[in-house]
Amino acid sequence: MSDQALLLRDAFGAEHRVDTTAEGVRVEGALVRAERQPSGAIRLEDGRVHLAWAVSSGDTRWVFIDGEVFVFETGRPLARRRRESAAQGSLTAPMPATVRQVVVSPGARVQQGDVLLVLEAMKMELPIRAPGDGTVAAVKCRQGELVQAGQELIELEP
C-alpha cells in the first residue's frame, strides 16, 4: 500500500485526516495498526485489539466496530447541503414513503412543531413537523402519493 492521505467527515460533521501507510493508518498523528483478515474483517490495534468491518459505497464509508456503526463521507459535505436546503424553507422526505395525510393547505399559518403532513413507511407513521413558525407557500405532494427520499414535500415561508 502506498502512502495515501484522505479526509473523512463523520456524522457530526467533524473532519479527520488520515494517512494510510505500510504499517497501518495514521489518524491525526496516532498510528493504528490495521490488517485485513482473510475473512474480510479488519484487525486493528490501538493498545487494544478490535475486529472491524468496513465497506465503501460511492463517497460513503461504513464501519462496524465493537457493535457501533459509523458512517463517513469522503466527498462533498452532505450535512452542509442539507442545512442549506432547510434554511430555504423546503421540507423533504427523509426516506421513500407514502403520503398518508396532508394536514395543511397553501397559505396556512403554522407554528414550530405543528404537524404538516403524515408519511407512512414500513407501516409506521412519520409526522413531518414545521421546523419554525411560518406560512405554507406550497404543498408539493398529494395524499396517497409515493415520495422518494429527498423529494420536496412542502415549502414554508417565514
Binding site: V25, V27, V32, E125
Partner: protein
C-alpha cells in the same frame, strides 16, 4: 390410535415473507413436506422464495394487494396443489376470514379454528370469555360509538391514563397512550388510521392503563383432542411504542407460585377459546415475586415472533409441532414432561436508525455477516446484497442467545451483537447493545416503559474512535463477500473471494 383424525400434509403454502417464512420452510423440509413460498413483486428475489420448493407470485408490492389479499393467497395455494397453509405471524395470520377461506377451499389451516380466532380477535368477546373462565382482566371496552367523541367519552369514563388500540389486531399497531383529554383528538385519529392501514379495520378499543407493568406471556399449545399444555412464559417488557425489542425466558420477575398460576390461567383461557395449535396468552404483570398480580391482555392466535426463546429453554420445535398437530396428531408433549432449562434472550434486529427517532431505513445490505457459536441462533429473512425496501416491517433478523444462567445469556447476546456486522443501512444493533448493558436490564428490573423512559441515553450516537476512522480509511473500494456458487452441484466457487468481487460495493 383409532380415534385420531389424521390428515397427510404433503405440501404446505407459507403465506408470509421474511424470517418467519424461512423458518417455516426449513421446518417443512425437515419434516419431509414440500413448501410453497408466496411473493409480491418486491420480493421476487427474496431469500424465502429461493428456499422453497415452489413459489407463487401473489401481487404487486403493497401488502394490501399481495400478502394481505386473501383471494390471491388462497388461489396460490390451490394453484400450487398445496394441502395446507401456514400463515406465520402478522399479515393474515389472525384473520378469521382467511382461516375460513382456507378451510372452505378444502385445505388445512395450520393454526387455530377460525371460530377461535374470531372469539379471541374480538377484544370485547375475549374479555367476556376470559372473565367467565376465571382469568383476571383489565378494565376496558370497545365503545359502541366509534366517533372521536364516542372514544373520548369512553376514555373519560374509564379514567386517564388510558390505552387506545386497534380492536382488530395486536403487535402494537395503532396503539396510543392518552394521558389526558387534551391529547385525545390527535391520538385517536392517528390510532384509527394506523389500525385501518394495518388491519383493514379502524375500530378502536379503550382500556385502563396499568402503570409500569411487565409484559409476560404464556406459550400455549392445543390439539384436536382437547389437550392443552403451556410452555412457560416469555418476558417481553423491553418494548418501544408497544413494539417488542428484546424478549427472554424465564422472566426474571416470576416467582414459581405465580408462574404456576399463570400457566393454569393460560390453559383455562385456551380451553375456553376452543383453541388448537400454537397460541400465546399475553398478561400484564403488576409487581414482583409472590405478591405479583396478572391480568389477561389478549390472546395472539398464531405463532409469535419470539417463539425461539421458548424453543431454546424447553428444547421443543414449535413449528414442527404445529405441522404435526395440524395433521391431526396428538400433542407431542405432556405437561409434566415440559421443563424450562437455562435462560434465553432474543434481540430483534430492525432496519432503523435509533439516533434519528428510529426512522425505518431502506437501502442495500452492502455487508451482512451473522454471528455463530455455542448457544447462538439467528433467524433471518435477508442475505448480504439484498435491497431493503420500505414496503414491509423493518425487522431483518432475530438473534437468540441461550446459556445456563441469565447473566451468561446476556453476555452471550452482547458478544454476538458485537460480531453481527450489518453495513449499508443503519440498524438498531448499537441500541440493543446499550439496552442489554444497562444496569436495570442487567438486574432484570425493566418494566414496559423502560425503553421510552431511557431513550436519550440509549440512542445517543457514539463518537468515532481512532480505530473506527482507521477502518474507514482502509475500507477502499473493495467489498468482500462469501463466494456464492452459481447453483448447487455447479462449478466450485473461486477459493479467493478477492478475485471475484472487486468493486462489488458500487
Amino acid at each position: 390410535m383409532a380415534s385420531e383424525r389424521r390428515r397427510v400434509l404433503k405440501r404446505v403454502l407459507v403465506a408470509n415473507r421474511g424470517e418467519i417464512a424461512v423458518r417455516i420452510i426449513r421446518a417443512c423440509r425437515e419434516a419431509g413436506i414440500e413448501s410453497v413460498a408466496v411473493y409480491s413483486d418486491a420480493d421476487a428475489r427474496a431469500l424465502h422464495v429461493g428456499l422453497a420448493d415452489r413459489a407463487e407470485r401473489i401481487g404487486p408490492a403493497p401488502a394490501l394487494q399481495s400478502y394481505l389479499d386473501i383471494g390471491a393467497v388462497v388461489d396460490a395455494a390451490l394453484r400450487s396443489g398445496a394441502d395446507a397453509v401456514h400463515p406465520g405471524y402478522g399479515f393474515l395470520s389472525e384473520r378469521a376470514d382467511f382461516a375460513r377461506a382456507v378451510e372452505t377451499s378444502g385445505l388445512t389451516f395450520i393454526g387455530p379454528p377460525a371460530v377461535a380466532i374470531e372469539r379471541m380477535g374480538s377484544k370485547i368477546g375475549a374479555r367476556a370469555l376470559m372473565e367467565g373462565a376465571g382469568v383476571p382482566i383489565v378494565p376496558g371496552r370497545t365503545p359502541p360509538d366509534q366517533t372521536d367523541r364516542g372514544i373520548a367519552e369512553a376514555a373519560d369514563r374509564i379514567g386517564f391514563p388510558i390505552l387506545i388500540k386497534a380492536s382488530a389486531g395486536g403487535g402494537g399497531r395503532g396503539m396510543r397512550v392518552v394521558r389526558g383529554a387534551d391529547d385525545a383528538v390527535e391520538l385517536i385519529a392517528a390510532a384509527r388510521r394506523e389500525a385501518a392501514a394495518a388491519f383493514g379495520d379502524g375500530t378502536l378499543y379503550v382500556e385502563k392503563r396499568i402503570e409500569r407493568p411487565r409484559h409476560v406471556e404464556l406459550q400455549v399449545f392445543g390439539d384436536d383432542y382437547g389437550s392443552v399444555v403451556h410452555l412457560f412464559e416469555r418476558e417481553c417488557s423491553l418494548q418501544r411504542r408497544h413494539q417488542k425489542v428484546v424478549e427472554e425466558s424465564p422472566s426474571p420477575a416470576l416467582a414459581p407460585a405465580v408462574r404456576e398460576r399463570m400457566g393454569a390461567a393460560a390453559i383455562a383461557a385456551a380451553k375456553a377459546a376452543g383453541y388448537r395449535n400454537a397460541g400465546t396468552i399475553e398478561f400484564l404483570l403488576e409487581g414482583e415475586g409472590d405478591e405479583a398480580r396478572f391480568y389477561f391482555l389478549e390472546m395472539n392466535t398464531r405463532l409469535q415472533v419470539e417463539h425461539p426463546v421458548t424453543e431454546a429453554v424447553t428444547g421443543v420445535d414449535l413449528v414442527r409441532a404445529q405441522l404435526e398437530v395440524a395433521a391431526g396428531a396428538p400433542l407431542p408433549w405432556a405437561q409434566e414432561s415440559l421443563r424450562q432449562r437455562g435462560h434465553a434472550v432474543e434481540c430483534r434486529i430492525y432496519a432503523e436508525d435509533p439516533s434519528s427517532n428510529f426512522l425505518p431505513q431502506a437501502g442495500p445490505l452492502l455487508l451482512y455477516r451473522e454471528p455463530s457459536g455455542p448457544g447462538i441462533r439467528v433467524d433471518a429473512g435477508v442475505v448480504e446484497g439484498d435491497e431493503i425496501g420500505v414496503n414491509y416491517d423493518p425487522m431483518l433478523a432475530k438473534l437468540i442467545a441461550v446459556a445456563e444462567t441469565r447473566p451468561a445469556a446476556l453476555q452471550r447476546a452482547i458478544a454476538a451483537l458485537k460480531a453481527f456486522p450489518i453495513l449499508g443501512i443503519r440498524t438498531n444493533i448499537p441500541f440493543l447493545l446499550r439496552v442489554l448493558q444497562h444496569p436495570d436490564v442487567q438486574r432484570g428490573a425493566a418494566h414496559t416503559s423502560f425503553l421510552d423512559e431511557h431513550l436519550a441515553e440509549l440512542t445517543t450516537p457514539a463518537q468515532a474512535s481512532a480505530a473506527a476512522i482507521a477502518a474507514a480509511a482502509i475500507a477502499g473500494r473493495t467489498v468482500v463477500r462469501d463466494p456464492v456458487p452459481e447453483s448447487i452441484g455447479g462449478a466450485p466457487p473461486s477459493a479467493d473471494p478477492w478475485t471475484r468481487l472487486e468493486n462489488w460495493g458500487r
